[in-house]
């Protein structure tokens, strides 16, 4: 029986290649290492680590449209963490969203996605969490209005929007596609942000990955639409983006920069390629019908062109083509043509830093313009870029910018 050797515990570039679903029996040491990799893939730290000095001790405020939920302590502390949980209990939490005491977990914890994980993978994750330093930190109760504050209400939500079930491979598709599906639909929980949600926070299966709101940003569509989705991206480009934080057509900013920094930059090339293969299989949903863009001599376009020349051309260049390897082109840019311009507005208002990864350590950043540009200026320049250099996406209203300003002020106040 081949012993799976443990690999580097160094932060970067774990070369672990986990075969889809079928694993050789491991020593505990190998299991912990695999669990660590999976915890990176699942980006557990994004919610469960608030204080860098206390990893996975929870306490991070996770904003939802319904109120704020505070992440729990998943270190092995026996009183305030999950040190007392059995394998079965941990599996039930990940697979069904149920606590050992029978209480429901709120679906802010993405169990509707984690349900797909194999039992082996779930237990590897537990093995890793069990190896962490226990931290004494009690979870804060969620800040939700009644009746949502009553956990039983989740049962109703589950009835409508959740069906437990481990990932079932599609025999008609390649092993690589299946691995990608397993990661994207499971641990990656990409759809938790990148899917549209209804008023109750549920996602229709047919709408998955069509773009959605998350943490006050708009996560772009990952489907095959050529303007607003990944239709023009190659597998190589998707892999490079996830691994290094940027490619020649886009740079991860805002929450996605964090995802790269905490999660995807640790994944193996093979896993990233599998995810990209899966994503490239998503069909276009036709969002890219011809958006009604203004004519070049429309007042908004004229004003926007001038704002662009004053403010944006210094980095994104007068022809919208950016600077290779540094500033993304706006021409043909997915984020610039997203059906919802919230992220665009945030970038302009507040600026953002991109992720520093080993391959791309620079962390190029965009400055804030909110203090020097009015809502009208920003609306005009976004309208302009969404209708220039071959881009086609709906104009942006000044009122939308005002709304985004308010939302930012509220969330940081």
């Amino acid at each position: 029986m081949a012993r799976r050797k443990s690999l580097l515990f160094a932060a970067m570039g774990l070369a672990l290649a986990a075969a889809p679903l079928a694993f050789a029996v491991d020593t505990d040491y190998g299991k912990v290492a695999r669990g660590r990799y999976l915890v990176h893939a699942g980006d557990c730290a994004a919610c469960h680590t608030d204080d860098e000095g206390k990893p996975f001790a929870g306490g991070r405020a996770v904003p939802t449209p319904f109120g704020t939920i505070y992440s729990t302590n998943i270190t092995p502390d026996k009183e305030t963490g999950i040190g007392n949980w059995t394998d079965e209990q941990f599996y039930k939490a990940m697979h069904e969203g149920m606590r050992p005491n029978g209480q429901h977990l709120y679906p802010a914890f993405p169990y509707p996605w984690f349900t797909k994980l194999s039992r082996d993978d779930v237990l590897a994750i537990k093995a890793y969490l069990d190896s962490l330093k226990p931290v004494k930190q009690a979870a804060k109760p969620p800040d939700l209005p009644w009746p949502l504050s009553v956990r039983e209400s989740v049962a109703g939500w589950n009835t409508m929007f959740f069906k437990a079930g481990t990932f079932q491979p599609d025999a008609k598709k390649s092993a690589q596609w299946n691995r990608g599906a397993y990661l994207v639909e499971g641990l990656g929980h990409c759809g938790a942000c990148h899917s549209p949600k209804n008023t109750l926070g549920g996602i229709k299966k047919k709408d998955r990955f069509e773009g959605g709101k998350g943490e006050g940003w708009f996560a772009v569509s990952l489907d095959g639409d050529r303007r607003s989705g990944l239709g023009d991206w190659t597998v190589d480009e998707i892999v490079e983006y996830l691994k290094t934080g940027a490619n020649d057509r886009a740079r991860a900013m805002g929450p996605m920069a964090e995802v790269v920094h905490n999660s995807t930059m640790y994944l193996t090339d093979s896993d990233l390629r599998a995810m990209a293969t899966y994503l490239k299989g998503l069909p276009a949903d036709g969002t890219d019908r011809n958006a009604s863009v203004p004519a070049p001599d429309d007042d908004r376009m004229k004003r926007g062109r001038l704002v662009y020349a004053d403010q944006c051309a210094g980095c994104h260049m007068q022809n919208g083509e950016g600077i290779a390897h540094v500033f993304p082109a706006i021409k043909g840019n997915t984020g610039a043509q997203a059906q919802d311009p919230t992220s665009l507005a945030r970038l302009v208002l507040q600026g953002a830093h991109s992720a520093k990864t080993p391959a791309k350590p620079e962390g190029f950043a965009m400055p804030a313009f909110g203090w020097k540009l009015s809502n009208e200026d920003i609306a005009d320049v976004l309208t302009y870029i969404r209708a220039s250099w071959g881009n086609q996406a709906e104009p942006v209203k000044a009122s939308k910018i005002a709304d985004v300003r308010k939302m930012i002020a509220k969330s940081s106040g």
């Binding site: 980095c315 007068q318 300003r405």
Partner: protein
């Protein structure tokens, strides 16, 4: 030379209490200004709580800048461009208080090559010089201060001040006038966020279009005038927005 202590000059002035006389050897604790950025926007030079000059001093400065860069057939001048406001705000800020200058004694007059050796911060120099000038003028010009003279008389006086022909406190007048000319040019040509160069009056005169970050296409268009609307750090109309 009438020597004025800093305390005398500060009487009645709305200056910070920290501008008291300083021991020459005791270490000073302070917050250095080469500090991490305030987060992407310029510091609030744009809307200080108050200016430095009193009404008479402001009238003097306004009249003086109107002669230094006058309104004429080339267009509006320093007064219309709000340069008096600019100077007022500068004097109320770190520059006026010489916060970054070495202002420890002992004090000696130096050679021309050794630079400014007055004990006076710019705000103090303005206050002292304006008071002495107006006192001098009122005695010799029928109780009229500088602001009350007609433009030709003002010009004549400024020329005399420039040549140190006016007897006030040794070279104080000449030193003050040189500073005033420098500050006027600064106010006329600085970004409008500082209160001067109003409506881009200064930049329009010279043809400087304002801060922009990309001339890659235009730099090769030899001899062609650059034709874009004027812009300030604070945007096209030079106003700071709500954040």
């Amino acid at each position: 030379m009438t020597s004025m202590t800093r305390r005398e000059l500060l009487k009645g002035a709305a200056l910070l209490p920290a501008a008291a006389a300083v021991a020459t050897t005791a270490p000073i604790t302070f917050v250095p200004r080469t500090m991490p950025s305030s987060g992407g926007r310029p510091p609030d030079y744009t809307a200080p709580a108050q200016g430095f000059l009193n009404t008479d001093e402001k009238a003097f400065v306004e009249a003086a800048v109107a002669r230094i860069i006058p309104a004429d057939d080339l267009g509006p001048g320093a007064k219309e461009a709000g340069v008096a406001d600019f100077i007022d705000r500068q004097l109320a800020g770190p520059y006026g208080l010489a916060e970054t200058w070495y202002m420890q004694g002992p004090w000696q007059p130096g050679t021309e090559q050794q630079g400014y050796q007055l004990r006076l911060a710019p705000a103090q120099l303005y206050r002292a010089a304006i008071a002495q000038i107006d006192r001098h003028l009122k005695q010799s010009q029928g109780n009229r201060g500088f602001a009350q003279l007609d433009p030709k008389a003002q010009d004549d006086f400024l020329h005399a001040l420039e040549k140190a022909d006016v007897k006030i406190s040794g070279d104080l007048g000449k030193e003050f006038f040189e500073m005033l000319v420098v500050n006027t040019i600064e106010g006329f040509l600085a970004d409008p966020i500082y209160g001067g160069n109003k409506d881009f009056i200064g930049w329009k005169l010279v043809g400087f279009p304002g801060p922009r970050y990309n001339y890659v296409a235009q730099i090769g268009e030899f001899g062609k005038k650059f034709d874009m609307p004027f812009v300030s750090i604070a945007g096209r109309d030079a106003g700071i927005r709500e954040s």
